[in-house]
Amino acid sequence: MFMWIIKRDLLLAMRRQSDVLTTLFFFIIVVSLFPLSVGPEMNMLRTMAPGVVWVAALLASMLSLGRMFSNDYLDGTLEQMLLSPQSLSLLVLGKALAHWLVTGVPLVLMAPVLGIQYDLPVEALFVLTTALLLGTPVLSLIGAIGAALTLGLRGGGVLVSLLVLPLYIPVLIFGAGAVEANMAGVGFDAHLSLIGAFLLVSLVFAPWAAASSLRVSLE
């Protein structure tokens, strides 16, 4: 059943490619705006790069959060998911995973290309991509909680950013920190391990928390 929900969400994303593409192009444009506006000062760009890429990834992944449950809520499929004999947490995990595959993975793949604009060395590009690979699923998982909490509320889109962005901060700090550490010649393992730890913790808790909020939202 877990596979069915992923298959379903990927199928829906394929039928509505514009949703996926807007997120990706938003990311590309925001990241590309900085070098254009700051000017070709290599040292400054290199210092800025990790932060800019991560902030853009945060905003891009948040852009699509509103759609995570709201479409299913409006057409009644979410109601049916709540009535599934399968545990709701597992279904939410499936939905978060599908969200990551659709919005997170393209960002991860695109990041090394965009990093070139900032004159990042190859090793830093590698670290940036790895950090994003570990960090973007956390964004989808934590985002699921926010999306579930604000389901059916007016102005939920703004509220979800207020709820979710503060929770993204640890991932942002250590994600950008890993790349900075690498460029400064210090080890970056600790940063990546911490993001890995965030991922594990959110894998356990986020689906459960989101499932509980969904039950409340639909009552």
């Binding site: 829906l12 109601e79 009535l83 639909l218």
Partner: protein
């Protein structure tokens, strides 16, 4: 057996109903009646476990449905006002996915047979967004054929259906009741169903 014991429903500071008692045996039909806003849908959502009653208890085979969770959901199908179909998916994809999520995986042949029966033969690969209201309703109702559950909770199942489809659903419900299934439904249309026992529940 489905039982409701002194159920009450409160919306905001308004009490919709209280002290609702009923008991539904195998092969039994319960029709919930009442004017608009009397809490029919609220009662049905309670019975399927989407919301909790303000007071009282709902029992399935003697155990509270809240404690059963998955086991109860595996024995129950709810079709509400919302069709529960995705506009961008085709008719057959919708049926296969919604059945799988309800715990009954079916293959393409079984899905086609169910759709043929419900009168959507030849429309399997159309996206649901191009269907009419009545046809969408049929897609939702096709789930009753795919999911072999014993308790059906139907909120206005006949809305938007044409005369032939109403007959079809009537036959489907009677067959289900004959085989020991249970049906809880609301409808504003007059419909005569042959059942081992029929309960009328009036909400004021």
């Amino acid at each position: 057996m489905l039982q409701g014991i002194s159920l009450a429903c409160v919306r905001g500071d308004r009490e919709l109903f209280r002290d609702i008692n009923f008991s539904l045996e195998a092969g039994g039909l319960m029709q919930v009646r009442g004017p608009n806003g009397s809490g029919k849908t609220s009662l049905l959502r309670m019975l399927c476990g989407l919301s909790n009653p303000a007071a009282g208890e709902i029992l399935w085979n003697g155990a509270a449905i809240r404690s059963l969770n998955g086991d109860y959901f595996a024995a129950m199908t709810y079709i509400g006002h919302l069709s529960g179909t995705k506009d961008d998916l085709t008719v057959i994809e919708n049926l296969r996915i919604s059945s799988a999520l309800a715990g009954f995986e079916i293959n393409d042949t079984q899905a086609s047979e169910a759709l043929e029966y419900i009168g959507l033969g030849g429309r399997e690969v159309l996206p649901v967004k191009v269907l009419s209201q009545g046809q969408r309703r049929r897609v939702a109702l096709a789930r009753l054929l795919a999911c072999k559950t014993s308790l059906w909770i139907l909120d206005e199942p006949l809305v938007a259906l044409d005369v032939l489809a109403v007959k079809l659903i009537q036959g489907l419900l009677e067959q289900h009741l004959k085989h020991g299934g249970m049906v809880v439904m609301t409808t504003h249309q007059e419909i005569d169903l042959i059942a081992a026992s029929t309960t009328q529940l009036h909400l004021a």
